[in-house]
Symmetry: C2
Subunit: 156 residues, 2 copies
DNA sequence: ACTGAAAACTGCAGGCC
DNA sequence: GGCCTGCAGTTTTCAGT
């Protein structure tokens, strides 16, 4: 599995992916090639899936976010619903959840008009979608792709 | 504001941040220095906030995710609650929401034990938290930091 | 995992449109 | 203002140890 040094690598890259190997190595107590090798190994093993830029949603015109809980009538309708999820860029997340509803979507769109279009026209027209419950996000206090790794201070 | 070329820059960097300027320039139809300049301008303007690695949560031992809806009794308790949110690595997201509840948290933790500890010991001990509602995520169909930019195919 | 050299990339300057 | 080319300095990669 991943060792302590790997966790520290991951921690660093989750905060700033565009760092130099030399700089990363300095933090890890390794030389630049050694730091690069550890990262490449983590990429190959699929532990680091990729890298992304964190973008201000409002700046690109997607200022409205919402959660949409979806109730599916029967299991045979899952396929079509999941295809919609994968093919719709506005759907940022889709989780199968425990509880009253079946799926929880997080969508990001241009405004209330756009949200209405997605909920009423797109989601509700999918066969098997019996009911939806939309919760609009008013403001965001925290939103980080950073996973909750405990700080790795010292490496023995 | 951002033009079409900026959107294409952002789109590319949301998918793979660790790209070379030359490669990015090729996609954009620009030279490497020009591509770099556009990115730096977007960073300065705060449209690109930073970069991060996308990490497999299970590989680093955080296999359980859950939504926690929080009801706050009075507005004066907000401060303390928001401090908890900012200082807790397990809290990945916190949104102020419209609807019955006040806040929606997304947390990621090691297991049910860990979740119990966060909900029962940490969140419910915050002054003003009247009630919480936890929804466990069973599986994740889609989870992307990629914002829903429409594909920019052609630049006039 | 480190060192050292070749190859590749970045950043800066000057000039063009 | 935004873009391109060329060069100097840095970073990455690939050996060998």
């Amino acid at each position: 599995m991943v060792d302590k040094l790997d966790l520290k690598v991951v921690e660093q890259l989750m905060e700033r992916a565009r760092t130099t190997w030399a700089e990363l190595g300095l933090i890890l107590g390794l030389s630049a090639p050694a730091a690069a090798e550890r990262v490449h190994k983590l990429e190959e093993r699929g532990i680091i899936r990729g890298y992304c830029a964190i973008v201000d949603p409002e700046a690109i015109g997607y200022g409205l976010a919402a959660y949409i809980a979806v109730y599916l009538e029967k299991p045979e309708h899952r396929q079509g619903f999941l295809e919609f999820v994968q093919n719709t860029r506005e759907v940022q997340e889709c989780h199968h959840i425990a509880g009253d509803e079946d799926y929880m979507l997080k969508v990001r769109c241009k405004g209330t008009r756009d949200l209405e279009r997605i909920v009423s026209e797109k989601i509700k027209s999918i066969p098997g979608v019996a009911k939806t419950r939309t919760t609009v996000i008013l403001s965001t206090e925290k939103e980080t792709p950073i996973l909750p790794i405990e700080r790795v201070e010292e490496i023995k």
